[in-house]
Subunit: 127 residues, 2 copies
Amino acid sequence: MTVLEWDPYDRNCPSRQVLDRVGDRWTVLVVGALAAGPMRFSELAERVDGVSQKMLTQTLRNLERDGLVTRTMYAQIPPRVEYELTDSGTTLQLPMKALEDWTKEHMRGIMAARYEYDLHKAELPKP
Amino acid sequence: MTVLEWDPYDRNCPSRQVLDRVGDRWTVLVVGALAAGPMRFSELAERVDGVSQKMLTQTLRNLERDGLVTRTMYAQIPPRVEYELTDSGTTLQLPMKALEDWTKEHMRGIMAARYEYDLHKAELPKP
DNA sequence: TATGCTACTCTCTTTTAGTAACCATTGACC
DNA sequence: GGTCAATGGTTACTAAAAGAGAGTAGCATA
């Protein structure tokens, strides 16, 4: 099966699930954070502000399952666990960073558009 | 405020919300679909397989609010509504397509990684 | 009179995310 | 001996979001 045959627009294609995953809210941030190098669980939790332990664990497990990050446990007390992007995960960095950069570059325009939209819609309340 | 000052890793930064939005499951597919040109609501609903009317409406409203798509209503019976990417929305196409392409290119590897992961985890059931 | 078309909108149910408390392990401290 | 802290989780409960399905407007055609 070549690349051309995967179609995320088809809800039954496995690529749909994968696209859902990589386009996930926390995945983008976790992969972005790991771009800087290996990180401990607690470092990630701090860097990705607002993520709960549960969601961070879940996101990391999914990334691990998809072969995008490795999980290395050091048998110490207290325990230490490091997460690192695999080669495959590193390639994901680029599209994710592109998304992050696009967001930063278009923030002003978006905020302005929102302001205007909300202004106009406020003029048309429901009868 | 320059681009450098937006930080989506901070949960209170507005760029976080915007990144959440553009990294949204349906947004990626809707923008990808609209890349082919203007489309009617029903065409989008068909192309983006599995999206509910509710979610499609919501996604389009959000994109419209952010100034990424325009909504043109033709006063006919039955009604006709066309959605089209704005210039700003067109720039979003690139990072989204990058994500879509990455997904397609890495599908095989990911499926293989999942298979192996599930195999190993099955060997370690909870006591 | 009945039916169909389109682009929604509303209500209800199910799934998912978020919150907060708890766990195991060991050393330091009182 | 009991308590606390640190780390990387898990579990139970609740709030929010998504999905399913029916309903709506307004006119045209059968």
